[in-house]
Each structure stands twice: as C-alpha cells, then as structure tokens.
C-alpha cells in the first residue's frame, strides 16, 4: 500500500490505543446498564457508545479514516438505503392493525 515501516509502526501505536479505548467503552456500556435508565435514555446511551466503538473499529482497524472516495460513496449509498428501509417500516408498525399491540387480545 506504499506505507513506510515508520508509518506502519505509528499505525500500530494507534491500534493498541484504540484497543484500550474499546475495552474501556465496553466496560462503560455494561456498567451503564446496571443503572437501569428509562428505556429511551438507555437506547440513546447504548447507541452512542456502540457508534463510537464501531466508528473506531471502522476508522482505525478498517483504515476507513484514509480510504479512497469510491469506498466512501458505496458506504454512503448503503447507509442511505438502510435508513430508507427502516423509516417507512417503523412508521407502518406504528399504525398497522397487524402490529401485535394493536390487536385486541
């Protein structure tokens, strides 16, 4: 890939630092769960922590912080489509008579 040995060693420092951060964040996410937050706060915190962890894995371990444009475009398209799927589906669940909690017991 053209990286010099010096650059690789620099990257390796980064890998171990990120690893440490991931360990800490994993502890955080488990620890927070013991506070039994209200569900919407719990979801928000869990999602943010997971997003940070995931972001670190993607950016540093998967080298996305320094990738080529074509890869970025593919991922952006994918993200748009994934979000584009879930939004209408969730809206439908809210209103649909077939959703379990809308079915008279």
């Amino acid at each position: 890939m053209g990286d010099s040995a010096e650059e690789i060693r620099h990257h390796i420092k980064g890998y171990f630092l990120v690893y440490l951060a991931l360990m800490v964040l994993t502890g955080v996410t488990v620890g927070v769960s013991y506070f039994h937050l209200a569900i919407h706060w719990a979801v928000l915190v869990a999602f943010i922590v997971a997003a940070v962890k995931g972001g670190l894995v993607a950016a540093i371990f998967m080298h996305l912080n320094n990738e080529k444009k074509i890869i970025y475009w593919i991922l952006i398209l994918t993200a748009v489509l994934a979000v584009g799927f879930i939004i209408p589906v969730l809206m439908d669940v809210e209103i649909s008579a077939y959703t379990q909690r809308h079915i008279p017991q």
């Binding site: 489509l81 584009g84 799927f85 439908d92 959703t99 017991q105």
Partner: protein, 580 residues
C-alpha cells in the same frame, strides 16, 4: 493500463491448451463458458415455466375439463386440481423470475458481454464467477426437487406471504433454502460485475464512453447487491418460523383449520411483506434494465446514428436504479399502512416513471430521421418500445392508490407486469440473442425463421396479455383456480379462451426459434459473422468467437465513444480503431 501485469500470454503456460473436458466446459472460469452455461440453464427453466403456464391456462379457459395428452399424468381424472394449480402458479413465478429471466439477462448476457464490451480478458474474479453459477445451479435443483416433495411443490405464490407460507407443506422450506442459494449466487455475481466494470475497463474507456448495455448491467448489479440481503434476512426468519417454531411473522392467537396455533405469537406478517418487497421491487428493475441496455445497443447499431442524449440516458438509468429502492410499498397499498406512508410511496412511484419515459423518448429520438435497418434483432428492439410503453402506462393506475384499490390483486396487475417482462424484457433478450449470435458462434442464423419467430411471438404475447388487462378491469381476481364461477368473470370468460389459444400460438412460435437455433448451429462458420451489423462497440473487434480466457489477442485501447456512426469521415468508427 493493464501493462503492469498485462503481458498477455498468447499461448498460456501450457495449461490452457491442455484443459480437460471438465475444466473446459463444466468447471470453467472463462466468463464466456459461464455465460453459455447460465444461458442454457435459463432457457431450460424458461421453457419449464412456460409449460407450467400452458397447463394453468388450460384450466383457466376450460375449467374442470380434462387436459389432453398429459392430464392423466398429472392427476387421476386429468383435470388440474386446485392444489396443483396453486403449485404451478407459485413455481411459474419463481422459476421465470429467479431461474429464467434474471439468469438469462444478467448471468448469460451480462457475463458473456460485459468483459468484452469493456475490453477485458475476463471478469475480475473468474473463480468467483464459476462459483456463482454452480450455487445458482444448486438453487435451481432444489427448486426443481421441491416438485417431488410430500404435499407438492411450493404453493404460496412467488411471494411466500406468511401466515400461509409459514404453515404450508414441507416444500416451502425447500423454496426458502433454494432462494438462499439463488440470492447468494446473485450477491457473488454482482460483486464481480461491479468490480469488473469499474476496474477492468480498457485504457481510454472512460465511464461516459461505455456502451449503454454496460451501464445497465452496472446499475443492475448494484440493485442486486443492496436489495437482495433483506430478502435473505426474511428467508432466514421464515425458515426459523417453519423449522424452529419461532413466530416472527405469526401474530398471537392465529386460528388455522379451526384450531388456535400453539406458537408464541407476537409476530407481524407485514414485516415479511416489507422485507420481501424491498427486494422484489428493485428485482423488477433488474428484469428490465439489461433489456433496455440490449435495446439501446440494437437500435443504435441499426439506425447508424449515435444515441440521442446518451449522457441523459446514463443519468436516467442511475436515477431509476436509486429510485427503485424507495417505491416498494406500492405493492402494499391494501395492507392498511395509512395515508402518510401510502402518499409517500405513491409519489415516489410516480416519479420513477420519469426516467423510464426519458429512456423510451431517447430511443424514439434516436430512431427519428434514421435510415433504419430492419434486421431481425431490430424487429425485436422496435417492438420493445410500444410494448414497454404499454407495460409502463398500465403501471400508473396501480401506482396511484385510489385506482389501485380496485385493481389490486386482479388480472390487471398480471397483465401489467407481464407486458413489461414478456413483450418487454423477453423480446429484448430474444433480440439480443439474434444480435450477438454471430459473434458468439461465428455463424449466421436463418433470417426467415427469425422473422417468423418475431411475428409469432409478438402476436402471441399481445394475444395473451392484451385481453388480460380487460379481464382485470372487469374485476376478476388473480390466483383463482376457477374464476368463472363469479358473476364478474362470466362476461369475460371468452377472453380467457382467446388468451389460451394465443398461448399455444406463442408456443408454436418458440418452436420456430428452437429449430432455427438447431439448424443455424450446424451451419459452417462464416466470415460474415465477424461484425455483420457493422457495430462500433468493442466486442465486435474480438475474434469470432473471442479467445478462451483472453478474449483479445492484444488488449484493445479505446479512442472514442461507443456510438460514432456517421459522425466522422467513416460510416462507422469502432471504438478501438486508432486512425479515423
């Protein structure tokens, strides 16, 4: 720019010449062999799906009457039973879409022509290509095998809706497993197509010099890549429902045959519909896009003019591909989604008709003022235009929620989508077959038989699907074993007879095609087959047929756009020709 590792070894390292029968014809990594494998398999499945339809159409037109010749082989009294009718209906759809048209349009035509049209030696991942075919083949075998399972073949439509599909006989599990194989094959193939089209273009072949066919294959590959996984997820969930007793799609308290089901419940049948249609709508664009690509190639070649508005056509295809991901719930207007969601999908569905119209208009404008060569491929390509127009126009009342209330689940829907796929895509594929047959085989086909095949097919298809629209408008529901018992259907029952006769006429026309194929293959090779249409794109400069594993003796360099007909001092300027 293939120079870095581009020393093309004209005579391999000994191995290429010594390929045994198995390596050369069965487990080949050559995209051309794989393309032909896909083509032969797809043709067999298309004929099978056609046969299922012929049997169903007998029952529709002559309910309760014994099927001649083979009826007794199917049932005791020779009359198609309701169960068998449902099985044939479900498998006709499944086979035609997933084992017939897509493998033909993408696996056969795409595999064979894409590397050639971009001047590449092969796909980016030849072994993966081979794997894709064999995974597809296994999926096909599983689907075929399902006919022999206890309880009969899958019979929950090609759509496998729960709760019905969840409680269906064992073959539904086979259908789901078969789909997993077919989806996997598709995913592997689409990765191959995208990487090949992006990375392996010949030097000088920028994106906006690509043949329109390559663009349609590239967008199609993205559709397959990103739309299929949710159906794979749904398939896994339904498999778990059927095999492991989960209730992902089963609401609580469901009563089947008078008994409450004992599963945990809490599931949502609409979840399946959302996951299914998220794929199945882009899937129909997978069915049409390669056809548009082929029609584009044939029209330009036979009008001796560049494509009118090539750039616009490319943008239209890209926009069409993207939009196809956000219209899916127009298949679900009748499920109670509410006006907000329905309005959204109605709007996107209306918008998506625009790029299709743009492309049709571009084709028409290309014809305008042209000196048209009425070759056999051109007949098919020309017919595609009004046929696809009818298919598209009949889609509008379905995409508008108000009229869809009446038309949903009637024969109008079947007429609509068959117009697009049958006189649409299939005509285009047939045209493509005649267009590229000379390059693939080095032989010319019989022109008279080709023309007869065209007219018979064109008339037969319209004879089936034209009246079908009327039957639907009369309010006759689809998937009925015997609609004639209903008052609304009685008045249009004669149309069903017309349709059935047309289907036999259509069958007869296909016999002409098979005869033509057989006798033309037995003819000797002729130099007239090198580039009989005087076409400009790269595949025509390859040897006839292109070299195994290599295609071009020397990698071509591209000097101009794809359709330079009568734009330079020459009547046509091939892309790879240096001096003009």
């Amino acid at each position: 720019m293939s120079s870095a590792h581009g020393e093309i070894h004209a005579h391999g390292d000994g191995h290429a010449h010594e390929e045994g029968f198995w390596r050369k014809y069965i487990f080949s990594t050559d995209h051309k062999v794989i393309g032909i494998q896909y083509g032969l398999a797809a043709m067999a499945f298309l004929l099978l799906g056609f046969g299922l339809m012929l049997l169903m159409r007998w029952q529709i037109a002559f309910p309760g009457i014994q099927i001649p010749l083979i009826g007794k082989a199917l049932t005791q009294d020779g009359v198609l039973s309701p169960e068998l009718y449902n099985q044939f209906g479900a498998m006709h759809g499944t086979i035609m879409v997933f084992l017939g048209v897509v493998p033909m349009a993408v696996g056969a035509f795409g595999n064979y022509m894409l590397p050639l049209q971009i001047g590449a030696q092969d796909m980016a991942f030849p072994k993966l290509n081979m794997a894709s075919f064999w995974v597809n083949f296994v999926g096909g075998l599983i689907m075929l095998g399902s006919f022999l399972m206890p309880g009969g073949a899958p019979q929950s439509g090609w759509t496998s809706y729960p709760p019905l599909a969840n409680i269906a006989p064992p073959s539904q599990t086979a259908w789901l497993i078969g789909m997993v194989f077919l989806i996997t094959s598709s995913l592997l193939g689409s990765v191959n197509f995208i990487v090949t089209a992006i990375q392996l273009r010949a030097p000088g072949l920028s994106f906006f010099r690509l043949p329109f066919f390559v663009w349609t294959q590239l967008v199609t590959a993205f559709l397959l890549l990103l739309a299929f996984p949710p159906l794979e997820a749904a398939g896994v969930l339904q498999l778990m429902d059927r095999v492991a007793g989960t209730s992902f799609f089963m609401p609580s308290g469901l009563v089947v045959s008078g008994e409450i089901l004992s599963n945990a419940g809490g599931g949502n049948p609409l979840l399946w519909q959302h996951l299914f249609w998220f794929l199945a709508h882009p899937e129909v664009y997978v069915l049409i896009l390669p056809a548009m690509g082929i029609v584009g190639e044939i029209i330009v070649t036979n009008t001796r003019k560049p494509m009118y508005g090539y750039n616009t056509a490319v943008y239209a295809i890209i926009f069409l591909g993207f939009m196809s991901f956000i219209v899916w719930a127009h298949h679900m207007f009748m499920t109670g989604m509410g006006t907000a969601i329905s309005s959204f999908f109605q709007a996107t569905t209306m918008i998506i008709s625009i790029p299709s119209v743009i492309i049709l208009t571009i084709f028409l404008l290309t014809l305008w003022g042209a000196s048209i060569r009425y070759t056999v491929p051109m007949l098919f390509a020309l017919a595609f235009l009004p046929m696809f127009a009818i298919g598209g126009l009949t889609g509008l009342p379905l995409g508008l929620t108000a009229s869809d209330i009446y038309l949903h689940d009637t024969y109008y829907v079947i007429g609509h989508f068959h117009y697009v796929v049958s006189p649409g895509t299939l005509l285009a594929l047939m045209g493509g077959f005649y267009h590229w047959f000379p390059k693939i085989t080095g032989k010319m086909f019989n022109q008279t038989l080709g023309k007869l095949h065209f007219w018979g097919t064109f008339i037969g298809m319209n004879g089936i699907f034209g009246p079908m629209l009327l039957v639907g408008m009369a309010g006759v529901s689809r998937r009925l074993y015997d609609a004639s018992i209903y008052q609304a259907a009685k008045s249009v029952q004669p149309l069903n007879v017309v349709m059935t006769y047309s289907s036999w006429f259509l069958a007869a026309a296909q016999i002409l095609f098979l005869v033509n194929l057989f006798i033309s293959l037995r003819k000797p090779k002729t130099p007239a087959a090198e580039n009989p249409w005087e076409s400009t794109t790269l595949e025509w400069t390859a040897p006839t047929p292109p070299l195994p594993h290599q295609n071009f003796p020397v990698p071509p360099h591209v000097y101009r756009g794809p359709y330079e007909y009568n734009t330079t001092s020459r009547e046509f300027a091939p892309q790879a020709l240096q001096e003009v």
